[in-house]
């Protein structure tokens, strides 16, 4: 740091006139702020320049990526490896995802840990649908990514036949480190481009079930409100996708 500071000073002497956007000027101003010297309109201007470029969306993505609640959901042998990532040895708590929720309605990440049989596939899809937006899926291991060794009549050949999968982790089973790495990849994806367009393709937007609608005890107003919320969710997702593609979609 000392070297870097010397270099900055060396670019141009401080006595020369500088533009307000110059890094050195902003640094000095930030130091002033820390001292409590900056107040009133000067403070407003500083906030405008230094804080707003960190957009709201980035801040939200940062929060989401570092506070993920995985669903407690094991399918097969990979689930043993998945369990160990919350253990002190691998410690997914370092990345803020140690809180496994027992209900899909409280979770925002689903780890498909094992082969998905064709009888289980509708159940998995329903659990995914029950999770609240935003939600992500990691396909862990060869079986849930491609069917793996189970090329037979009973197993779905890759979970992305019926639901959007964000990250595939190879291995049979993957070591817990590999799953943690896959999770870090997912975090990076959330921080960067949050929407590759898969959710629309799999009709996975606004599918959160609504408990009373499912039991058939909802009134017509409630059903209408639910439909409107779904419409809103779809349009929001579409707009977000277009924005993340630079408006080209």
């Amino acid at each position: 740091l000392e070297v870097r500071r010397e270099k900055l000073r060396g670019l141009a002497p401080l006595s020369e006139p500088r533009s307000p956007t110059d890094l050195r000027v902003r640094q000095l101003r930030a130091r002033d702020l820390l001292r409590g010297d900056l107040e009133g309109p000067a403070l407003e201007k500083h906030v405008e320049e230094a804080v707003l470029p960190t957009t709201m969306r980035k801040a939200i993505s940062w929060g989401r990526a570092n506070s993920i609640f995985p669903a407690t959901f094991g399918l097969a042998c990979c689930a043993i490896e998945m369990m160990s990532i919350v253990s002190p040895r691998y410690d997914i708590a370092r990345f803020g995802a140690e809180n496994m929720r027992a209900s899909p309605r409280q979770a925002d990440m689903l780890i498909l840990s094992g082969r998905v049989s064709i009888k289980m596939a509708p159940v998995v899809r329903r659990i995914y649908d029950q999770m609240l937006e935003p939600k992500w899926v990691i396909a862990m291991g060869a079986c849930s990514s491609s069917g793996g060794m189970f090329a037979n009549y009973a197993v779905v050949q890759g979970a992305d036949k019926f639901m959007p999968v964000d990250v595939h982790v190879p291995g049979c089973p993957p070591r817990p480190e590999a799953l943690v790495y896959g999770f870090n990849k997912l975090q990076r994806m959330i921080l960067g481009n949050p929407d590759p367009g898969w959710r629309r393709r799999y009709n996975g937007i606004g599918t959160e079930e609504w408990a009373r609608a499912a039991t058939g005890t909802a009134s017509q107003e409630e059903i209408d409100a639910y439909a409107a919320a779904r419409e809103l969710s779809v349009s929001h997702e579409t707009a977000r996708s277009q924005e993340s593609r630079g408006g080209a979609a």
């Binding site: 069917g147 090329a151 009973a154």
Partner: protein
């Protein structure tokens, strides 16, 4: 296990109790097996369960087998166990394939062994063997709407070709 003479003794006594029910016997790897007429299966199992000196009261397993291309094609195998003597006896009933959409049929042994309920459902699920008199014959492991009998030997393997770099051009529509 009944030894070979013991097995012949059982076969002979069974032939007296239920005439013509035993078609063959064999003794291999220390395991005794009776091959019986599927139409008489309830007589055979009932006698083996209840006759004094036999008393094979526990049905350890019931499973279907497909011997394609042998004829008769199917078989239902009953593994019986006499627990006090720790003696096991296998009973096999061979079933011909009726062809077409018809299913091979055999009497359910649920009146004798209640534990056969789920195992007969499994044999039905995988081999399409219909058990007459079963109270609730439907699929148990495969989805209810599944079509076909997946453990039959002429059932296609299923699955999909795995795409490697060396064969990706040969796999149809590999780019999708």
């Amino acid at each position: 296990m009944p030894d070979p003479p013991g097995l012949e003794l059982i076969a002979k006594e069974l032939d007296v109790a239920a005439a013509g029910s035993v078609l063959d016997t064999y003794h291999e790897h220390g395991q005794a097996c009776l091959i019986v007429d599927p139409e008489r299966i309830l007589d055979v199992l009932g006698w083996l369960r209840d006759a004094p000196q036999q008393e094979y009261r526990f049905l350890a397993s019931l499973h279907g087998v497909d011997y394609l291309p042998a004829e008769p094609r199917f078989a239902v195998v009953y593994e019986l166990l006499n627990m006090p003597r720790t003696e096991r006896l296998r009973v096999r009933a061979a079933l011909a394939d009726p062809g077409g959409d018809e299913l091979p049929e055999i009497d359910s042994c649920m009146p004798l062994f209640a534990a056969a309920e789920l195992q007969e459902r499994e044999a039905y699920d995988f081999f399409g063997i219909a058990f007459r008199g079963h109270p609730d014959l439907r699929r148990i492991l495969m989805p209810e709407d599944y079509v076909g009998w997946p453990q039959r030997r002429d059932f296609p393997m299923g699955g999909e070709p795995v795409i490697f770099t060396h064969n990706e051009r040969e796999v149809p529509r590999w780019y999708e």
